[in-house]
Symmetry: none
Subunit: 200 residues, 4 copies
């Protein structure tokens, strides 16, 4: 994959929606060419094939998530609050980029098979959150996790599915409302707090 001229990269985003709607396999290269305004042969000049185009789009999304998550993770304050920040960050990126985000999920299987994506996802999310969970155990704002990695994975799953629901349904709720709902589930769980000192 050749170095992409920015202008071309920009045009490509126009195709993300298409892929999200139809799935990559139902999206012909011609469609991508037409939707993006980039000639088919030019796409092949820069990419090895269809998959690489999708990978590029998704990597871009993950990079964005990674960036915002990183900011949230290394903010000031107790880990629990920073975790809520992480949730907000991921949801924010997802709601701002619904198309690639739907594409990511629609082709989760394929994404699973793109090794560099798995790595990118891990770096973007799992590792920082895992670190955050450990810090929370130390500052006392989070309970000590038995298996931080798998907990990080579950957190990602929860946030992702929540974000997706919105992306698919067509975002009718406020981002803050969603983020709060997710954060509350993750932090407080579904069981009632007996002596409600913690509460919301």
């Amino acid at each position: 994959m050749r170095e992409l001229p920015v202008q071309l990269a920009t045009k490509l985003y126009g195709a993300a929606e298409l892929i999200a709607d139809q799935g990559l396999d139902n999206t012909k290269i011609d469609d991508i060419a037409e939707a993006s305004g980039v000639p088919k042969a030019t796409l092949y000049y820069y990419f090895t094939g269809k998959e690489e185009i999708l990978a590029f789009l998704l990597k871009d999304l993950l990079t964005a998530i990674a960036g915002d998550v990183a900011v949230a993770v290394s903010a000031e304050g107790p880990a629990s609050e920073r975790l809520a920040g992480v949730v907000r960050a991921q949801l924010g990126v997802m709601l701002r980029n619904p198309a690639p985000c739907r594409a990511l999920v629609g082709d989760l299987g394929r994404a699973t098979r793109l090794p560099e994506l798995a790595a990118a996802l891990s770096a973007a999310f799992y590792e920082p959150v895992e670190k955050l969970l450990r810090e929370g155990a130390e500052d006392g704002s989070l309970r000590r996790a038995e298996d931080p990695m798998s907990e990080a994975v579950m957190i990602f799953g929860t946030v992702t599915i929540a974000g997706l629901m919105e992306a698919i349904m067509g975002a009718h709720r406020e981002m803050d409302a969603i983020a709060n709902g997710v954060a509350r589930l993750l932090l407080d769980g579904l069981a009632p707090r007996t002596l409600d000192a913690t509460g919301a």
Copy 2:
């Protein structure tokens, strides 16, 4: 789609793995024919096409989940315990059927576009869990949800991702360990219980 001879149905499961590994679009009908030992033309005699084969496989899985979930939901005891049972039920089916389960996720996008599947998923999971959440609010074992439907969705996401991790990684942990981890996250959350009277 004609009524399937059982023997044929059985053979078909052999193809689930294939679809799970490659995604439906990368799986040619010839592949399915070869993997299952059912001649291509015979597949067409019973199914309208590839999609219908996948749908058959997935519906089977969802039916299984629905059944086990239904049992867990209508068991005895407080809603919180029954919710833990639901988690165990879903994870159980997933771990026992890793291939169709991976196929379901790998082709989530398509699944989204197969209306009867969405309906089946809703019936199998969302509705019973939503009902359970309401019951929990009444018997006091669960806090009152603000938006039970979206909470049901998140629960599904969390469990699913946890199950998938195992299905993809190749199940090395005990099913109970996973189920407990998930149930604990969902019920108690990540924050420490201030006055730990509740605990697990």
Copy 3:
């Protein structure tokens, strides 16, 4: 390559001319399909690709040559006369099948790269002729060759080029005239027979 129905094989000969005229690379699969009346996809059902079609056509030709050459080689009489018979046999096949014959030459390079063809050629021509040369040395009708294999190759070259000239030019001379010219060159050489007891 699947077993070919005879009817299909027959139709294919219609394409030989085309390939001979344009060379394989300038002959599109569509052309072959149209010229032979066999649908493109059917061609692919039986052959792996364009090359295999050419290989089939050429092998057919070589089989024909091999057959006639074999007859000539194992005829009655001194080796020298049988060698003349071989020349006539090869030229005969070539003149009767000008199209595949031109194709063979036009794509000699490719033919060189089709291993099964090299083997077929060797079996069809080199080996029988080499054997014939040895027999001639014994019955005294041919001089003892220093390197029978390379002499067999040269003989093939001479006959082939002669045959090609005719195939390309469009056969204006009698087959016998050509065969006699070639046989004479091969047997008597260009030098005058000093004491012309042998002569033609």
Copy 4:
């Protein structure tokens, strides 16, 4: 086709091998660019296309043959000896330039279709040899040919195939040995000389 800088011409010979190995059609312009180290666009600056590059390479070869053949033809001595010289000359050029030589044969079909090549070949070989045959008939060192042109063609074929065998096999015999074998076949034929006054 613009006047070629020598340095560029030199680089191009590097591509002859490639073309000889794969045939022109399987050789992409990119391959030629890479093999020769000349940028693709630069090739187009000097040549009109692929064919012209091949033509350039082959013409070069034919010019070399023509030169050496001309020298041999117009040497001193009887025509029969000069004919042997011609054989040596052609074989010499072929063995010294195996790559373009294989390319010429591999693409004989195309060469046939490149009119200027046919003309060059005729001028380089057929005409001088035809003339030589006539001279031999006059000085008594060669028998009178019935059809000198077609005999010249056969001579070319014999020598060419012999040269090719070596070029393809990877030249293991001494050039002189080959030349002598060919010359002997052409001059004396395969039949034994009854009263061997002539011999080798």
